[in-house]
Subunit: 207 residues, 2 copies
Amino acid sequence: RIPEPTVARLPVYRRLLASLVAGRIRTVSSTELAAAAGVNAATLRRDLSHLGTYGTPGTGYDVVRLGEMVDRALALGRDWPIVIAGAGNLGRALARSRGFTTGGFRVVALVDVDPGQVGRTIEGVPIAHVEQLAELVVREGVALGVVATPASAAADVARRLADAGVRAILNFAPAVVPSPGGVLVRSVDLAAELQVLTFHLARARGE
Amino acid sequence: RIPEPTVARLPVYRRLLASLVAGRIRTVSSTELAAAAGVNAATLRRDLSHLGTYGTPGTGYDVVRLGEMVDRALALGRDWPIVIAGAGNLGRALARSRGFTTGGFRVVALVDVDPGQVGRTIEGVPIAHVEQLAELVVREGVALGVVATPASAAADVARRLADAGVRAILNFAPAVVPSPGGVLVRSVDLAAELQVLTFHLARARGE
Ligand SMILES: NC(=O)c1ccc[n+]([C@@H]2O[C@H](COP(=O)([O-])OP(=O)(O)OC[C@H]3O[C@@H](n4cnc5c(N)ncnc54)[C@H](O)[C@@H]3O)[C@@H](O)[C@H]2O)c1
Ligand SMILES: NC(=O)c1ccc[n+]([C@@H]2O[C@H](COP(=O)([O-])OP(=O)(O)OC[C@H]3O[C@@H](n4cnc5c(N)ncnc54)[C@H](O)[C@@H]3O)[C@@H](O)[C@H]2O)c1
């Protein structure tokens, strides 16, 4: 099993390797790659050893080969259709973002309960009613669901996504969403990120 | 020093305690609070012991007192003025979000380089030119900066925020942003969150 902190660093290595490939750099040392990633070289070497790659002493890692290994570990390069539940501020920003949909991730639809939203499109992506979720997931082969609804609706929406057949869920609502039927749920709480910052600021002042 | 995973769970406990207080519940056991937070009871007890509170065997924790301790540790309830750099899709969604600005966090301005954005307002919050950042931070006593610019501008914007006097930065751009002049930087990469999900999906299928 690969430790969770290692998994969370793989997307950073992927991005750095992609820009090295674009810059036609053939090899990179663990020290250089670690410095660019903001981690120490021993951590990077340990992380990459979990993928079964050790680099060659003296020359480092083959950039193209390492990039492919990390891409394969992250299962990138395939088609990952996504549905976003909640076509509000955040849902619409995610649907519009080129940054969110890199590496094969593709928002195929948003769903909402607000009749004023249903039937519209965001950059060509349709907003359907949440009642049509099951049919949409099957038709489009949707693998991933994103929850961008109010916290009060989050657990119910996650259950509907799982029942419809999605295999993993990214939840942005500030609520603890239990994993419906064994489907993987990962939560990101943007407001909590600010609170972690103020925690450290208060500590730094000795409070 | 409190371990980082403990710090990251405090906002979840805070939210749950706030809803117990609203529900006029006087005490809560570590088992109940842990179940609501989706962690095991031993982890919760260890987390709270870092704040110096142990609960009473048999009755559990005093909800109001525990809520106040967690709020104090997170330095909530004060006024935390925020400036958002980048008034694009994400910056505007954050400025509009009631969910992002709870517990004393207040977006006082956005800054941008696009003349088409400068001079507008988002729900009453002005968009200024990034050249006015330093004057804005001093005038409004801004403590926190949020980076919602393209990745190419992120490190430069973080430096400007630090030079202007902000004390901590939350970065949403997919770039490694070094901590300018010792100012705390925390990065959240929304696209990377999807990649962690697909990593686990690929693993689950034995790939
Ligand atoms: N906007 C942000 O930047 C931001 C920041 C932090 C947290 N969040 C969290 O993200 C979530 C969305 O925030 P927002 O600002 O977009 O809110 P919003 O109110 O603008 O949008 C929520 C949308 O969800 C829809 N909805 C409600 N119930 C639904 C259901 N059962 N099924 C499908 N859709 C449903 C609503 O009709 C609405 O369109 C909230 O939980 C919020 O706390 C958002
Ligand atoms: N929108 C999302 O949901 C989302 C999801 C994942 C990642 N991100 C990341 O968040 C960042 C913002 O994304 P977006 O979708 O809002 O992009 P966007 O292009 O809509 O907005 C970016 C804004 O930054 C401004 N800007 C550029 N250089 C600047 C500078 N030096 N100082 C101040 N402002 C500057 C631009 O004028 C523009 O208004 C990007 O790095 C993106 O990869 C966004």
